[in-house]
Symmetry: C2
Subunit: 384 residues, 2 copies
């Protein structure tokens, strides 16, 4: 198949920042794109050859959009799977496949998939609704503390809570959920696996999520993770196993816990480019978005090694600021060594809204980490 400067068309469901960064790569290779997103102000609005506004969960919309493309992918999991299945049955290539997405989209099914495939994960129970969850608490089948996760719709920390007492159940949403054992862990790690339809597989180096000591929020994504080589090897091998179990095509971001005794447990996966791989744009030989394109188009996968160390900081809207966005002090961080901000293009900021990210690269990881701290202290996402 000839993709470059031809009428071949790649369809992308979702037009947010991940899609936007993917479009840098389709532009670089002059691959024609169609993008579907519910918002007319989506970051992918420009740079796609054709943009369409529409509901990603609507069968007809997704089906009709997909009929006009040669290969269909998504940058968000919340898409209509039945439409993907019908498109596949009619010969459209959908990567990752509808079957893979079925095993991932619902977190209850995803956890059961790990169990069925002997993939280490924290012990859990699935509850069909909040009523069933409450009943299990009353019957003392479920003990505090536990991690509650909504089976669907979770994103960017939404749909996940640590429940320490009965009262904390009250504000949870009504739908199906899982309750997971709260595992004390040393590190939260992630590995991105790339796999193409021909079966070529490559993993990126292990990255580490460094948490704020008090706020318990991810502050920095660090590549490479500051862990033993043996642990890193184990994490990459496990991530590969997960990708193969899912028969996944494209990028799969595998989030994992490193327990106190150096066990690796799979937390959850995202079947697409991922926040934990943004560092790769500046640090890696092949960035995750180019790799995604290579994988879904069955091209040879690129080198996943890093040229330099990378640290990534998310740019989220400051608390108590809502309105037209201002990136305060951005010129100050541009004066720091090896600093690249990425601005997603959302015109309005809201508390904790993901507005962009900043990558800091350096030959010396410790220097990059120090500069990242300066970046975090300096730039503020506020409203006018």
């Amino acid at each position: 198949m000839n993709y470059f400067s031809t009428s071949f068309t790649l369809g992308i469901l979702g037009g947010g920042q991940l899609g936007k960064m993917m479009l840098y790569e389709t532009r670089k290779w002059d691959i024609k794109t169609h993008v579907l997103d519910p918002s007319n102000e989506a970051p992918c609005r420009i740079a796609a050859d054709h943009f369409q506004q529409g509901n990603l969960m609507d069968f007809e919309t997704v089906y009709n959009f997909g009929k006009k493309v040669d290969v269909l992918t998504f940058e968000i999991e919340g898409v209509n799977i039945e439409a993907l299945e019908k498109l596949e049955s009619e010969g459209i290539k959908v990567y990752p496949s509808a079957a893979t997405l079925r095993n991932i989209q619902d977190k209850g099914i995803q956890k059961q998939f790990y169990k069925d495939h002997q993939i280490p994960t924290s012990p859990f129970k699935v509850y069909k609704d909040k009523y069933a969850l409450n009943e299990a608490i009353v019957r003392k089948e479920l003990h505090f503390p536990f991690v509650w996760k909504s089976c669907t719709g979770g994103y960017d920390g939404k749909g996940v809570s640590i429940i320490r007492e009965a009262e904390e159940v009250i504000p949870l949403s009504e739908g199906a959920c899982i309750a997971e054992k709260l595992i004390p862990f040393k590190n939260e790690l992630a590995v991105i696996v790339a796999r193409n339809p021909s079966g070529e597989v490559k993993t990126y180096p292990v990255v580490e999520m460094e948490f704020h000591p008090e706020a318990n929020q991810v502050e920095y994504v660090i590549c490479p993770a500051r862990i033993d080589d043996a642990v890193a090897e184990k994490a990459r091998a496990l991530a590969t196993k997960v990708s193969e179990a899912f028969k996944h095509v494209g990028l799969l971001a595998v989030e994992m816990f490193q327990t106190e005794d150096d066990e690796i447990l799979v937390n959850e996966v995202a079947p697409r480019p991922h926040n934990s791989g943004h560092y790769s744009i500046e640090a890696s030989y092949t960035n995750q978005f180019e790799q995604q394109i290579r994988a879904i188009l069955d091209l040879p996968l690129g080198n996943t090694d890093s040229k330099v160390a990378g640290v990534m900081v998310n740019l989220v809207g400051a608390e108590s600021h809502t309105g037209p966005v201002v990136y305060k002090n951005i010129e100050k961080i541009l004066a720091m060594e090896g600093v690249t901000p990425h601005i997603y293009g959302k015109k309005e900021t809201r508390p904790f809204r993901k507005m962009g990210h900043v990558t800091i690269v350096n030959k010396d990881l410790n220097k990059a980490r120090k500069i990242a701290e300066e970046v975090k202290k300096t730039i503020k996402v506020v409203s006018k």
Copy 2:
């Protein structure tokens, strides 16, 4: 000034591959852009917020386009300078300035500028037309061989010829020209200088153009140049001097000769991102297009050092192929280590048309150079 996700608008005259690569950076920072280009199929057609078709040499077109933007730049020298001057007088920021472009656009004026500013360059004479050139030959004021250059309109090797005998003058164009002494040189080098309106200046490492031993055509752009440190220092210092003499703002690519006795002579300059800086997308901490944006918006300049060594190969249309383009064996070069093709998006190939480039990066320059040779042997730009 607040550039990021605001109504601030950057205007770009010219919508070719340089503009296209600049747009990756404006997208990364969500800076609003308007682009003007004569072709409705220009590579910048998408990814700009607003694209306008129009003649870059027409006063009214350029003036009216420029009135709607806050900062105006160009990615090609052939633009209407009078319009730039009028825009400047009305408060639009034009970078590089009209005055700088006046000293560069006409090669006769550019050479005289070097002479006036004690910038070493090969000896030359300016002739107001071909008649005057012929007269100088007849009067034996001008001796063979010499280098003929058209004062205007030269681009990608057009408008330059080595003249070894009287007959070779016949096919030359009629207009004003210069005749330069043919200087035997060891190396052709280039340095990109970035300078912002506040006067901050940075130079990129010296790159080397490696010529095909027989065809006398540039085959590889190599960074860093394989030359002595002292020569490299001298070249960077000279390039800085040239940029300052021009009071240049933005990127200035300074092409130079290293003579047999290690003198450095300025050949010519381009007041914009340049083919010799394409390696920087993959190899440098700050690529030349991001640097251009930083410079013209008076932001702090980024680190010009390289993360890794880089070699660049141009992708030009194969001889005797005209028509819809096919990048033959592109999947083979994608399997080679550290190889990134860039496809400019021209749908039709013609003999020697610049259709894209390929960058090869590696920690080891010699390895990158070897892989570049493989790339050159493998990929072919042909028609269907």
